[in-house]
Amino acid sequence: MNTPPSEHDIHAYVDGRLEGAPREAVERYLARHPERAAEVRAWQHDAQRLRAAIGGTQLLPDNHALHPGVVRARRRQRRIARLSLAAAAVLCLGLGGVGGWQMRGMRSEAAVAPMADAMAAYRLVALDHAARPDVVPQRAGDMQAWLDAHFEHAARLPDLSSAGFHAVGGRLFATDQGPAAMVLYEDAAGHAISFYVRPPGPRNHLLPTGQRSDGGLMAQYWSGQGYNYAMVSRDDGADAQVAARARQQSI
């Protein structure tokens, strides 16, 4: 037979894994091809030397860290460490999140205290008398008409007459978001309460209902019909209650 044995059969022969007819075929072939036979013998010899030199020897010093039990214990420890690390990370994240949220609240409050302009307007007109009202109502309904001329669909002016307060004047103010208006009410004792309306902002958000005291004044604010409103009064019981009732009516 002339066809050379397959590579597989040659290697299997070298490695002593070939039996029976295939083995005889390889032997017959090698008998006729001395060069190939010499190579195969050399390969067998190399394999024997390799086995003799390497196989079955244990020259390496014992390494305790490699034993399965030790590896297992280390994995367990690492898992626990990782778990506690993860728990710590979650905790940090949580604390950071809560803290951050509170910081955000504090910052935005500090940056844009709601209705600070309403209180500034009140001080300017009602306390300092530094600015005069633009309009002084001659008849009932004048203030509402004036307001409607500047603000479409704004809330109705509150009626504070039951508490002795009457509208005495109105004034426009400029804000970054457009005109704002203040209507000032006074009672016989000269106490002032203001109704303030402005476009929402800055950053264009409407206000939740709330109140804020600052420097002896109280602003009670809310939103509706696309505007922000505030009733500003002195921060004492009676006037603030009147303002609160007015807000109640308007909401």
Partner: protein, 171 residues
């Protein structure tokens, strides 16, 4: 298989794994690192993957894969540093070096890691060609031609029967 039985089998194979890793990396501490990560991998994937087949071939496969990964990483790292450690002198443990010198197996050292692995698996460990093909993830025919090349390289580098001068020993 109980955990204990499995651990016992692993312990039994540990010397072979270390030997293989040593011939692969030519450095004892890298070899033991490799064996350690192989053990960890084996212990963590046992339940999911292993129930049949030869445990030894499976471990060799893990170890060899980890070796390839590590080498790829270190080559990337070396490239980043602008140097390749190809021609660094291998750090053989002295006992192994002696062994090499004595047995005139210097040729073995000149083979590529893959060729060394191949010859170890086939001649020393006696893995089947199919198991080797599975480890290398190549067809069995490819294993055969690579085996031919490895054996030829062994011949080419080796000076046959004459023992190599033991200069290497004194270095």
């Amino acid at each position: 298989m109980s955990i204990h039985a499995f651990d016992d089998q692993l312990s039994e194979l540990l010397p072979r794994l270390r030997r293989f890793a040593l011939w692969l990396t030519r450095d004892l501490s890298s070899a033991d690192d490799l064996v350690q990560s192989t053990m960890e991998r084996a212990l963590s994937t046992r339940a999911a993957k292993r129930d049949d087949g030869d445990l030894r071939a499976w471990l060799f496969r893990i170890l060899y894969r980890q070796f390839l990964d590590a080498r790829r990483r270190s080559q990337r790292y070396a490239w980043l540093l602008g140097r390749l450690r190809e021609d660094d002198e291998p750090q053989w443990p002295s006992a192994e070096r002696e062994l090499l010198a004595q047995s005139a197996l210097a040729a073995f050292e000149h083979l590529t890691p893959e060729q060394r692995s191949l010859l170890l698996w086939v001649t020393v460990e006696g893995l089947s060609y199919q198991e080797v093909a599975d480890i290398l993830e190549v067809p069995i025919g490819t294993v055969m031609s690579r085996l031919s090349r490895a054996r030829q390289a062994m011949r080419r580098h080796g000076d046959g029967e004459q023992p190599t001068p033991s200069l290497r020993l004194l270095k």
